[in-house]
Symmetry: C2
Subunit: 148 residues, 2 copies
């Protein structure tokens, strides 16, 4: 998905973390810094591997991913393949940046789709969240590479 990428300096990331009430620590800055380079949501394993050099603890990473999600800096989703993935929420718009994700049921690759690509209509009895557009959409199928 094309979007103007907002890249924050370390100092900005530290301020961002503090603004949520959390303390700014090495592991947290590292996680945000890595995620702001990511073009798709990353799994715990992928983040752990990327931050390998820092040698940070698995449990610490899990706790930080959850904490950062709780305060709204990250979103945590399962795209249909039973893997948690984390994505930086774009704070620039002051709200969740919603766009559908396409996940390959074979290779697990995740693709961000333009948020215009999906139209959800809300029939009679459907949840109010749908009418208010407060929802996330995950689409699963075979990606072009795996389908070939």
């Amino acid at each position: 998905m094309k979007k103007e990428r907002i890249v924050r300096s370390i100092a900005e990331l530290r301020a961002l973390i503090r603004s949520t009430g959390l303390r700014s620590t090495g592991p947290r800055v590292a996680v945000l810094q890595r995620l702001q380079q990511a073009i798709t949501p990353m799994s715990h394993a992928e983040i752990a591997e990327a931050l390998e050099p820092a040698g940070l603890d698995r449990a610490t990473l899990y706790r930080n991913l959850i904490d950062l999600t709780d305060v709204g800096l990250l979103s945590r989703t399962d795209h249909g393949d039973h893997v948690w993935r984390f994505e930086l929420r774009d704070q620039a718009h002051g709200q969740t940046e919603q766009h559908p994700h396409f996940t390959c049921i074979d290779c697990g690759e995740v693709e961000c789709l333009p948020d215009t690509s999906i139209e959800v209509s809300a029939p009679h009895q459907s949840p109010r969240a749908i009418k208010r557009h407060h929802f996330e959409v995950q689409i699963t199928g075979l990606c072009d590479r795996c389908a070939a």
Copy 2:
């Protein structure tokens, strides 16, 4: 989601299982019988609890759910909350019956939406699977009860 429910007798279920090449066994019939009563996809834990009286083994249940999925009698999906859920595939139409699912991010309740409730358009670079309508859609958000 409203649909004419197809209820099969035990004998019919046994024949259905055999028609896939699998042997008809107590656990397998029990699983199918339970799932054809289900109004939404069920997790392994839910099925296990429902079949508690039969006292059937966890591993056997897991294996059967996978086997029945492999031969196409069930579908296995993760609705965004990191829980595998199994659903009887309707063989009456000779194909996967596709409809979007709405899963509450709070209570985990799953709701089936009419397949007309979602319109996915396929822009330029999107996966071919989308253009061909070979995909599943999961929507997550707060259900009415949890939003209240």
